[in-house]
Amino acid sequence: MLQRLRENKAWQGTLLALPTTLWLFVLLVIPLFLTLVVSFGRRSPDGGVIYGFSFHNYLRLLGYSTDCPGGQAACFDPLYAGILWRSLTLAFWTTVIVILLAYPLAYFIARSHPRRRNTFLMLVLVPLWTNFVIRVYAWMMLLREQGVINGVLGWIAAQFGIPFQPLQMLYTPGAVLVGMVYEFLPFMILPIFTSLEKIELPLYEAAADLGANPFRTFLRVTLPLSMPGVVAGTILVFIPVMGTFIVSDLLGGKQVILVGNLIQNQFLSARDPTFGSAASLILMIMTLIVTYFYTRKFGFGEEIIAA
C-alpha cells in the first residue's frame, strides 16, 4: 500500500489536496449553495425562510420596488442600487489611493540598504499585530468631534485667536475612505516591494546607458516589471474592501452604508436572510466581474511567484 503510494504521483497529489478540499467543501461550497437556495426564497413573518424560486430579492436589490409613494404598482427605488454603487466606487478609490501611497514606499524600501530593509518591512507589518477592530477604534479617537485632530486644530486656532468650529470628520465617507486606506495599505506594500526587489540593478543601469533619464527608466522599465506586484496587491485590497463592514460601521455610522453593512443588517436586525443572501451573492458576482476583467487585462500577478 505504502509502496504503491510512493510510486503513484496522482495519488500523492490527491492525498495532499484532500484536507483542504474537504474543509472548503464543508465550509465554503455547501454554505454557498445554501445561500443560493435561500436567496430565491421569501421571508416568513417570524424571520424564517419560505423556500421557493423567485427573483424578487434580486430585483429589489437592483431597484425594483412595489412600495411606491404615488401608489403605482411598481417603481424604481435607488436605495439598494445606490449602496452597491457606493461600495464599488469606495473600493475603487481605496485601491487607487493605496497604490499611490504604497508604491513610493515600496520603492524606497526595495532600494534601501539590505540591512535596513527588514527593519522597514517589519515597521510596515507592526500595525497588523494589533486587532483590526481596535485599529478602527483608534481612528474614531482621532476623528471624532472631541478627538485628537480637532483638539490640535482648536489649539492652533486659539493661538492665533481664530474662532474654531470642530470639524465633522467621523461618520463621513471621507472617514471610511481614510480607515480603509489605512487598514489595507500593508497588503499593497508587500507585493509591490517583492516585485521591485526582484529588478536587478544592472537593468536600471542598462536603461540609463541606453539614454533613458530616470523618469523614462521608471515608465519603461521599473513600472512594467513591477506590475505583477501592483496586480497582486490590487486583488488583495479590492476584494476585501468590497465586502468589509466594520470600517464603514464604525467610521461611517448610518451615513455610509456599504453592501457589507446591508448584508449584516439583513441577517441580524432586519431578519430577512433571503434578502441578505441575495445581497451576498450580488456582492460576490460584482467582485468576480471586476476581478475577471482586471486580471484579463493585467494577469494575476503570477509572475511575482514564477519569476
Partner: protein
Amino acid sequence: MRSEFAVELRDVVKQFVTPEGNLLNAVDHVTMQIKNGEFFSMLGSSGCGKTTSLRMIAGFEWPTAGEVYIEGKPMGHTPPFQRKVNTVFQNYALFQHMTVYQNVAFGLEMEGADKSEIEKRVKRALEMVQLTGMERRKPRQLSGGQQQRVAVARALVKLPDVLLLDEPLGALDLKLRKEMQLELKALQKEVGITFIYVTHDQEEALTMSDRIAVMSKGKVMQMGTPVEIYERPANKFVADFIGESNFLDGKIKSISADEASVFVPALNAELSGVPMSKDLVNGEEVVISIRPEKIRIVEYDDGKEGIFRAKIINSIYIGSDTHVYLDCNGVRLKVMEQNRISRLDPFSFYHKDQQVGVYLMPENTLVLKKEA
C-alpha cells in the same frame, strides 16, 4: 573634429569604503589613453579595478579624483544617459518584459528617432549579429549566445563613440566563447567603433585586442600591444600574469643601451645580450624571465655554448604539448614542448632523473627588476 583619443583617463582615483570601514583605492591613479577605432582591453584578476574603470567611463561611478574624458570632453558628473558610450553588461541586463526587437529599439526610442528610422536600424543591427528572425522572441526564449548578441546589438545600434564591454563572454562555454571572440573582433573592424573590453581571460585579451592594459590592485602594470605585453613584459608581475615564466636570480655584470650581461648562479654562467628595460643599473640584483616554450631540451654536450646540464623531475603529457619540469642546479625550470610527432612508445618520453641539456638563447630571455 574628433579628438585623437576616444577615451582618456587622467590620474583617476576611485575610493570605496570596505565593509570593515577602511578606505580602498579600487582605482589608484590610473592614466590611460584609448585611441579612436582601437580595440582596447583591460586585463586583470578580480578586484584589480578594471570594471570600476569601465563603470567610470560609462558614468555609473564618478571618480573620487582625476578626470575621465570622452572625445576630449571632461565628463565630470555627466550622467550615463548623456554620454555617447554604450555598455554590454556582464549578464547582458536585457529587458525581460520586452521582445528582442523592443530591446534593441529601446535606445533609439530614447533618442527620439522616428519609427521608420528605428525599424531600419534595428533590422541592420540584428543582421549584424545574425539574429534576423528572432525579433519577436523574449530574451528568456534565447540561448546564452543569442542573448549576448542581443546585448551587443542593443548597444551598437546607438552608434556610440565607444562601446564598453564588461566580461561579455564570461557566461558562455569555452567553444562558443572562442567563436564569439573572433566574431566580436570582426564586428569591431566592420563598424570601426572604439571597443573597451574588460576581461580576466588573458587569452581572450591577447586574441582580440589592439592594445591591452594589464591591471593589478587598482594600478596599470603595463600598457601595450599583445606582442609587447607577452614578449617584453615590463615587470615581474606582468611576466608572471601573462602566460608563464621561469624566474632565475641573477646579477648584472655589464650593461649597454638595452641589453645586459647577467651572471646566473643557477646556470653557473654569464648570459650576454639579454634584453632589458631601461631602469636597471650595473651590478644590480635582477631576475631573468624565461618563457617555458622558449627553452629547448637537448642532449647534454659538455662545454657547448648555451647548453646547460639539467635533470628531469617529471614530464606531463597534455595532448598538444608536454610539460617538462627540470632541475637545473637546484632551480626548477618548466619547459613546454609541442608534440609535433605522434608517439605511443612510452620509452620515447622523458623519464625521471634523466640527464639532459637545456638550450636557451639569451635573446629569448629578459632581465627584469627584482621585486619583493
